[in-house]
């Protein structure tokens, strides 16, 4: 009988205990990077399931590949990208006929035209001929003459892009016109990749496509993602840190793609109205939910400069922006105040709004 009482006591204790079980599954980090769109694309996702994590990475990169193929104007290594590239076909048929394109391309064009209009032409995807004139796409950069610029400017006009949503076509009215998606492709691809991750049920992820950042959800521990903003004159430094979730942070600077001739730096950020570099600012950063918008908006903000850029940014809903002037003065939209912290590095003068 005493034995049984012992057994019963033991059993009672066994009931209440499952001390061998570990806490419910931990979130694991899955990360990978690939070289696409002329830059390094890094994707990090968190999932409690290994298969799901790997699948999420593969699908995200697949989106980048897909958009890259649609938007690449300069196919490399003899790949027959012309078959995929909507951009190439649109450009080849400028002044000839409308071209049927994929829904993604249509979306990109429409969104771009929307902002082109809103910004009064400070952003213009028809800037292709000017970019070619400066040699940016083909790596043969040189400073063109004013005459050449003037002549080529006649081919830059977003109003001459005719989109037929019902038939899914895009038509460039004048021969010689060409679209350049360099200012929007990465953002759009990032947005598509983020969509795919969401569909797969990923709740925490970080995408960095060549500096084009999208923070999905929060960090696994619930805190906000910390995105640093690079110092335009110091590649190793950060001038500010943004704390964000479900937001895109995209930065454009005159240090990304440029060449120097006779001591003057010529960056790839060109004002569509003059055909020449915008020089008021060194760097702009856009903070907003849509990665496509963030990518696009950097261009008009950079071109418009400090004052007009700030007004334009403030007129936009749900958009925050940081402006770093060539004079090292830094301003930012008021809606970023709570998430923005300056590091104090690099002797920039931070102008706070009243």
């Amino acid at each position: 009988m005493k034995r049984w009482s012992l057994v019963i006591i033991f059993l009672f204790i066994i009931f209440a205990c499952s001390g061998c079980k570990l806490k419910s599954a931990q979130l694991k980090e899955f990360t990978d990077e690939k070289f696409l769109m002329d830059t390094l694309i890094q994707v990090t996702v968190y999932s409690d399931d290994e298969q799901k994590g790997k699948e999420a990475l593969d699908k995200a990169f697949a989106e980048f590949e897909r958009i890259n193929n649609l938007t690449d104007r300069f196919p490399k290594d003899g790949k027959n990208t012309a078959v995929f590239s909507d951009v190439i076909r649109i450009n080849e048929n400028a002044g000839i006929k409308p071209v049927q394109v994929s829904t993604d391309t249509l979306n990109i064009v429409q969104r771009s035209l929307y902002y082109a209009q809103l910004s009064g032409g400070s952003f213009d995807i028809t800037i292709g001929p000017i970019m070619d004139l400066w040699g940016f796409g083909k790596n043969e950069q040189h400073v063109p003459s004013d005459e050449q610029i003037q002549k080529t400017l006649s081919l830059v006009d977003y109003r001459k892009v005719i989109v037929d949503p019902d038939n899914g076509t895009v038509y460039l009215q004048k021969p010689g016109m060409s679209l350049d998606f360099g200012g929007v492709a990465k953002g759009y691809a990032t947005e598509e990749a983020a969509k795919v991750l969401r569909e797969l049920g990923i709740k925490h992820a970080l995408i960095n496509a060549g500096g084009n950042v999208y923070a999905l959800g929060t960090k696994p521990d619930g805190s906000l993602w910390r995105v640093g903003v690079r110092d335009p004159r110091n590649e190793n430094g950060i001038i500010a840190v943004l704390s964000v979730k479900d937001t895109s942070v995209v930065t454009s600077g005159d240090y990304e793609r440029y060449f120097e001739e006779r001591g003057v730096r010529y960056s790839h950020l060109i004002d569509p109205s003059t055909g020449k570099q915008a020089r008021d600012l060194m760097q702009t950063t856009v903070v907003t939910e849509s990665s496509t918008d963030a990518d696009i908006l950097n261009k008009p903000l950079f071109v418009l400069g400090h004052q007009r850029g700030m007004s334009f940014a403030e007129s936009l809903q749900g958009v925050g922006a940081i402006f770093v002037g060539a004079d090292k003065q830094v301003t930012f939209t008021g809606n970023l105040t709570n998430q923005l912290k300056f590091t104090g590095d690099g002797d920039y003068q931070i102008i706070h709004q009243k």
Partner: protein
């Protein structure tokens, strides 16, 4: 005796109180098994309990965690009890067992994620092991005494 326990264990498994209490009770059980049923039986009970736990609601990884920590801990305690129980108090054995349990689990964690960075929590883990080990030891000592009197 041990087989009886195992059979009964197999038929009844209920999720109970908070994890801390669960763990504590499990360790009391383990220690009592060592003292009253002998080393071999105690080891078997630990192993079986971990298998059951994994079957019911765990996965391979949590099983690895529990079996490593559990076996390491019980083995150390068995050795201490068998050869040294005249010189070491039950409380101390319990504390050492708890410490090894946690070390075992942390080690498995570091192997699984291929990263030593888990060891940042080592101090907290050690301290909590010592505290819970102490409490478990005291409780077990009491139980042993009162049970021992009744068992003859």
């Amino acid at each position: 005796m041990a087989t009886v326990l195992n059979i009964l264990e197999r038929t009844i498994v209920i999720p109970g109180a908070s994890p801390g209490i669960k763990l504590g009770l499990a360790n009391i059980m383990t220690l009592l098994s060592i003292m009253m049923l002998g080393g071999k039986d105690a080891i078997i009970i630990v192993a079986v309990r971990c298998f059951l736990g994994a079957l019911v609601g765990g996965n391979v990884i949590s099983f690895l965690f529990s079996i490593t920590g559990g076996l390491l801990s019980v083995l150390v305690m068995v050795i201490m009890w068998r050869y040294l129980n005249k010189y070491i108090s039950i409380v101390n054995i319990s504390m050492v067992g708890a410490v090894f349990h946690n070390i075992g689990q942390l080690f498995v964690a570091s192997l699984i994620i291929h990263d030593f960075s888990v060891y940042v929590i080592l101090p907290i883990l050690m301290i909590s092991a010592i505290i819970t080990g102490y409490i478990v030891g005291i409780v077990t000592k009491q139980l042993y005494k009162s049970l021992g009197n009744r068992m003859i």
